[in-house]
């Protein structure tokens, strides 16, 4: 029983980490209809910036947690204004390709700035201990990730459901033309949402960096996992993303434990099955019209 309990804690921690990484992608996809293939790259920038900050500020992780996501958000604001805003008329597929080209560019930019060595970020002092649960020692940071994931999910839910901005975003999800007609500046909504999406990507990068580490091509690996979560959860639904993150966390952790050779195979298999049986995802609505 202890083993299962321990694996469960691990899988919830991993799942919520996936949620932190994916929620920005999900939000952007829901509103803009653009599948941002540079999301992993934004995540990577967040991780590398937080590395630089911790190195130069005497291992101050908290400073990195505040500054790095903002830096990434500013990057994504620039991307939205220069690259996406002039190209909305090109159609969604072209924009997906644009963000893919951008991922290439950012890949080399980060390699030029931070080199291509494997780097790691030390844990903050207050979170580097361990706690014994189910007769097993857990790093406190893993548990902190659970807390952060839950808080973030709660916050996003509150903003989407209970505030005026959330109402505008939900309205934008279901009918863009109508909300334009009601006098909302949809262009501004796009920009703000992309800004928030970038912030969340950077935030995910900082949170994940001490666990997953920093290495070249990390963005492509992260992106592919985020896409799996996005597809399984349903496109553009925060609740779906939450459920899917936990599902993937549990499935992958237990597979790694039981049949290590097949863990990734099962995860992508799950994605394929969901796409075939329920193309709109577990909790999704039809967002993309083809």
């Amino acid at each position: 029983m202890d083993i299962i309990g321990a694996q469960l804690v691990n899988s919830i921690s991993y799942g919520l980490l996936l949620f932190v990484i994916t929620c920005g992608l999900s939000l952007v996809f829901g509103i803009l209809g653009v599948l941002n293939l540079a999301h992993g790259s934004l995540y990577m920038i967040g991780a590398y910036v937080s590395y630089s900050i911790t190195v130069h500020s005497g291992q101050n992780f908290w400073l990195a947690l505040i500054i790095a996501p903002l830096a990434v958000a500013v990057c994504s604001l620039i991307i939205e204004m220069i690259l996406l805003r002039p190209t909305y008329q090109l159609g969604h597929l072209s924009q997906v390709l644009l963000t893919f080209g951008l991922a290439y560019v950012i890949h080399d930019m980060t390699a030029a700035i931070w080199g291509s060595d494997v780097l790691s970020i030390p844990l903050p002092q207050s979170l580097s201990g361990t706690v014994t649960l189910f007769n097993q020692a857990f790093p406190v940071y893993r548990l902190a990730v659970i807390a952060i994931g839950l808080i973030l999910a709660g916050l996003l839910w509150f903003i989407q459901e209970k505030t005026r901005w959330g109402a505008i975003i939900r309205a934008g999800l279901s009918d863009k033309e109508m909300i334009c007609a009601l006098g909302v500046n949809i262009q501004l909504v796009f920009t703000v949402v992309f800004f928030i999406g970038g912030y969340l990507a950077g935030f995910g990068g900082v949170i994940a960096a001490p666990i997953l580490g920093l290495y070249p091509s990390m963005e492509f690996q992260t992106l592919i996992l985020a896409l799996v979560v996005l597809v399984i959860g349903g496109l553009g639904s925060i609740a779906g993303t939450f459920v899917a993150s936990l599902t993937i966390g549990i499935v992958e952790t237990f597979c790694r434990f039981l049949v290590p050779e097949l863990s990734l195979f099962v995860v992508f298999g799950l994605m394929a099955v969901v796409l075939i049986v329920k193309p709109n995802g577990l909790l999704g609505r039809q967002v993309v019209k083809h």
């Binding site: 690259l83 072209s94 390709l97 290439y104 890949h107 592919i224 990734l264 994605m271 796409l275 193309p279």
Partner: protein
């Protein structure tokens, strides 16, 4: 049309005589371009002609590559054996995957092909006994036909060239046949084709299998060429780069993917001799093409030709006008 035929003959002649013109380094470069061009041509059947954007084409490349690598190492490096076994394996894989993928379209097609190709990648990556895991398979013997050894790069080049011409010609026939016209019809308006009584799902599956099978052939040739294969050639970034080749070259044209493959391989070689940042340069060029020249190099070429001939015509017209004016003046 005559001009086109002339250009075609010139290109083929150049390719036939290139072993006498180029040094070994450039000959290998041309060989690589031809192999990747076959790969890009196969994806173009889906993306360019049927309008299904796939982000999982590396799966079939990988199936073909690993099939031929394992056969060459374990059984025999006979060229026909590895080639046809790879083709068969890729056809079977693409038929199975295709049955599911052709039911959806647009964004879902993109994601489903990605999911399947990642399944194949994770199998290749994690199964150490058959595929060598993340180390890949190395020391693959070069292909043989009877006693003819293709480790000689010039022989290998001619082998690839012959296959390339066959595949290029075959695909040209296919896309201009009634079958190919139905595929283009699916790209333009699937609902309409359905209402005309075409079983579009079946046509899409056929396109998927043709594309997958030829992708497997490209993979098999790539293994023979490099005598090495690693899981990174099956990863989704490989699917992304072949998609970039097709789109930069010009999707929905026959020559486009070939030009795209040549462009990317040459650019990669030139750029990487100066700097390691070739991905950035390809990324920037790709972004510029997507925004300004969505029809790729082929579209760009047509545009340039048009403006050239237009300015010629304009000058001819203005010349006539001035003559007319002159005549009027004389009359008056």
């Amino acid at each position: 049309m005559n001009k086109k035929g002339f250009a075609l003959i010139a290109a083929v002649m150049l390719l036939i005589f290139s072993p006498f013109i180029f040094s070994l380094f450039y000959l290998n470069l041309v060989t690589e371009i031809l192999i990747l061009a076959i790969f890009a041509l196969s994806l173009n059947i889906l993306v360019g002609y049927t309008g299904l954007v796939s982000l999982g084409h590396a799966a079939f490349f990988g199936v073909g590559a690993y099939m031929s690598a394992i056969l060459a190492r374990e059984i025999s490096p006979n060229f026909f054996l590895t080639l046809f076994a790879s083709l068969a394996a890729a056809i079977i894989a693409s038929a199975i995957i295709g049955i599911f993928c052709v039911k959806v379209s647009g964004f879902y097609f993109l994601m489903l092909t990605l999911a399947f190709s990642q399944m194949i990648y994770s199998f290749v990556h994690q199964s150490t006994t058959i595929t060598g895991g993340s180390n890949g398979l190395s020391g693959i013997p070069s292909p043989l036909i009877g006693s003819l050894d293709f480790s000689n790069p010039v022989y290998f080049y001619y082998l690839i060239l012959l296959l390339f011409i066959l595949i290029y010609g075959g695909l040209s026939l296919i896309v201009h046949s009634p079958f190919g016209q139905v595929l283009i019809g699916i790209r333009e308006n699937e609902t309409r084709l359905k209402s005309m009584g075409y079983h579009t799902t079946l046509y899409k599956l056929a396109a998927f299998v043709i594309a997958g099978g030829l992708g497997g052939v490209a993979g098999s040739l790539y293994t023979s060429f490099n005598s090495f294969i690693s899981p990174s050639d099956v990863y989704w970034t490989m699917s992304g780069s072949v998609l970039i080749m097709v789109l930069i070259g010009g999707s929905g044209t026959m020559i486009g993917p070939v030009l795209g493959a040549a462009f990317i391989v040459i650019l990669e070689t030139i750029v990487s001799s100066y700097t390691t940042m070739w991905m950035m340069i390809i990324g920037i060029i790709f972004i510029l093409f997507v925004v300004f020249f969505p029809k790729g190099i082929v579209g760009l070429g047509k545009l340039l030709l048009q403006s050239f001939s237009k300015s010629n015509k304009l000058s001819a017209i203005s010349g006539k006008k001035s003559n007319a004016l002159y005549n009027n003046d004389v009359k008056n």
